[in-house]
Amino acid sequence: MEPSNFPTIFSIIEDEIDLNDLLAQITLTSTGAAAIFTGMVRGETLRRGSAQALRGAAHETEYLEYEAYIPMAEAKMKQVADEIRAKWTSIEGIAIVQRIGKLYPKTPTVLIACTAAHRDTGVFEAARYGIDRLKEIVPIWKKEVSPDGQFWVEGDYIPKAGE
């Protein structure tokens, strides 16, 4: 299979993220390794290393509500995939999927998966790069709803010209 035909999935979805299905979609006969990152909704933020803080006030989240500027988000996911392929030419398949809507603790919200023939050709680094870039340039936002009220989570990255 020619590199130009390597599978690339980039999608904003409302249903569950199906890791088995997505992995199968980016597995070729030449594929021997996959690195997959998933993010989940945290229901509580533990403060490690301090039993007192832990007993005191673990921050609680009831749910997160995600929204996206869907057509631009999918185009930027495609761009992230293109950036990955430019940096790691060994990558075969790429899946970048963000789930939106009301998502409760322990639910996977995002997936970045990269496949290659072997594990030592950049799959881990590529998946890491993918989630970092998604959090920088893909127009998705989340509002946290907790017992203390609700507030929009804001990132801190300002895209540069051409991004």
Binding site: V110, K135, E136, I137, V138, W141, G155
Partner: protein, 82 residues
């Protein structure tokens, strides 16, 4: 005049009170000029214009860019997906 479509997301949508609107703007208005116009016409959005991200036809755009005819403009805070 140039009729554009404005989209708001996240905090910007909450403050605008709408997801989208049509807006007539002068031809050759820059992004900076557009932000000034919005700050004047929509007091709720004035503070937001200082740090807002702007896209023109789904690409990030910056102060000097000129808004094209019939553009789709989106305004939103730094992204927080994942």
């Amino acid at each position: 005049m140039n009729k554009i479509r404005l989209l708001f997301f996240a905090t910007l949508r909450d403050r605008a009170g709408t997801r989208s609107m049509e807006l007539d703007i002068p031809e050759d208005l820059t992004v900076r000029g557009l932000k000034e116009k919005i700050a004047e016409e929509f007091p709720n959005l004035r503070d937001s214009m200082k740090s807002v991200l702007i896209t023109i036809d789904r690409e990030y755009a910056f102060d000097e860019a000129v808004v094209p005819v019939n553009a789709e403009i989106a305004m939103f805070p730094p992204v927080s997906g994942g």
